[in-house]
């Protein structure tokens, strides 16, 4: 009994943060990093520093607002660095921090998974829709 309790306590301490809990701050962090722009930006920075306009071109269709906003959040959270070279015109380079690199490894899997399983998902949707349309009558 005492053993059980001690084990439980140890386990609780190790898992101080638990995203299943609504009040846990990791719930918010998980929400932030679960974002397509975050994923694409971190991936776009994997081969070294990139300039603002390079990122803008690479992430086709992203608005200036979302690009700047996402980069600022990533910078504040310690995932990317922002280096300004005060030339004329000014040059700004974004790069991954070690923390950002550690997250990039994971979100890249997400991007690769989507690209690898798109066809599989298409098939699943077609099957689901076919099954559910036949229930209509």
């Amino acid at each position: 009994m005492a053993t059980q309790t001690a084990a439980d306590r140890r386990s609780a301490e190790r898992d101080a943060y638990d995203a299943y809990l609504a009040a846990c701050p990791t719930r918010n962090l998980l929400d932030r990093i679960s974002d397509k722009w975050v994923t694409l930006l971190l991936c776009a920075l994997q081969d070294g520093p990139r300039r603002y306009n390079e990122l803008s071109r690479k992430l086709a269709g992203i608005s200036q607002k979302m690009l700047t906003q996402t980069l600022r959040t990533l910078e504040r959270d310690g995932l990317v660095t922002r280096e300004v070279t005060p030339s004329v015109p000014v040059r700004v380079d974004y790069a991954l921090t070690p923390l950002g690199t550690s997250l990039r490894a994971t979100v890249e899997q997400l991007k690769l998974w989507a690209e690898a399983n798109m066809d599989h998902v298409y098939l699943a949707r077609a099957g689901y829709d076919a099954r559910n349309e036949s229930h209509q009558d």
Copy 2:
């Protein structure tokens, strides 16, 4: 020249889907799976089938609407199965498909990353905010 072109073509074929492109359907899929409820649900199903109310309790604070909606999307995309046992009251079990299991492996890393690096992110934010408040004057 011919070699170059052939290599380009091969590369283009391998990367038929590219989430960097706005019009690519994987951009949408990436957006769908980049969702905290998707992550938490897939993780909650990792140890086997779970009933609707079990999931509701495990994902503290999720509304019925989001739970049902997310489960339906996951089912349609072929990531989870929904099994109805027509008892009274009815019993419904959700479980991961092989495709869902493959995605779960990745999103679990996301959840673990958030839980493991929360403190690091807190520190980064404090540093960023301190640096930027001192710029105010």
